[in-house]
């Protein structure tokens, strides 16, 4: 059984950080939440982030994960907008 709720840290960078006007926050989520739920939560708070939805990547504890990755209490979730460019 998953716990009734988990507490996680969310880290924001670059354009996403500018939209939220913060680089880090802690939130409580329902137990059994997945990485994609964090993005949905952020978009609900900051609708401007919607434009990133299809190509943002999520890292949990410094590794890229799929949106369905199950979160645990204490995880650090990083919202990774497209990285730095050049070709």
């Amino acid at each position: 059984m998953p716990p009734p709720k988990i507490s996680v840290t969310i880290r924001l960078f670059a354009s996403v950080k500018d939209i939220a006007r913060m680089s880090e926050t802690s939130v409580d989520l329902p137990g059994a939440s997945v990485a994609g739920d964090v993005l949905s939560f952020l978009i609900s708070q900051y609708p401007e982030m919607q434009r990133f939805r299809s190509y943002i990547r999520i890292a949990v504890n410094e590794s890229y994960v799929d949106p369905g990755f199950v979160l645990h209490d204490g995880d650090e979730i990083a919202i990774i907008p497209p990285v730095s460019g050049g070709h």
């Binding site: 960078f13 354009s15 590794s63 990285v83 460019g85 050049g86």
Partner: protein, 140 residues
């Protein structure tokens, strides 16, 4: 040597770090701040990193290179913060017994860095600024 620094990159020091008696060639790539982007004048760039994850992924890239090519040494340094025009934001040096491996490994390192290492670039123009979003990194 894998580092993220908040100061000038010393290319000579980077080269010295990969010199090896077994090496027949050293490849050095420097990514420098260009004074223009999409027709606009760039005043400076600002880089931001998710440093611990960026270092982990740079080491992962080094591991992949060592599996693919027979190289002697590799160093990767990325600068964060403000990087003025003409100065280097990233430097990669690879030594190998033969030049083919050195060139290919160096190319792989910069290409993979751009795809997956969490470092972001903001272009500062005379009349505004924008975070650069790399199409290459969107696909995975």
């Amino acid at each position: 040597m894998i580092e993220i620094v908040n100061k000038d990159i010393d290319a000579a020091e980077l080269l010295a770090s990969v010199v090896a008696p077994e090496a027949g060639g050293i490849n050095l790539f420097l990514g420098t701040t260009r004074n223009h982007s999409k027709g606009k004048k760039v005043v400076r760039l600002e880089y931001e990193a998710y440093t611990p994850m960026a270092l982990t992924l740079l080491r992962e890239i080094e591991g992949e290179i060592r599996e693919k090519w027979s190289i002697n040494k590799i160093s990767i340094v990325h600068r964060i913060g403000v990087v003025p025009v003409m100065e280097a934001s990233v430097a990669i040096a690879v030594s190998a017994a033969h030049r083919k491996e050195a060139f290919e490994a160096c190319r792989y390192a910069i290409d993979e860095l751009k795809k997956r290492v969490p470092i972001w670039k903001k272009e500062i123009f005379e009349d505004g600024e924008v975070w650069v979003e790399n199409a290459e990194s969107k696909s995975t």
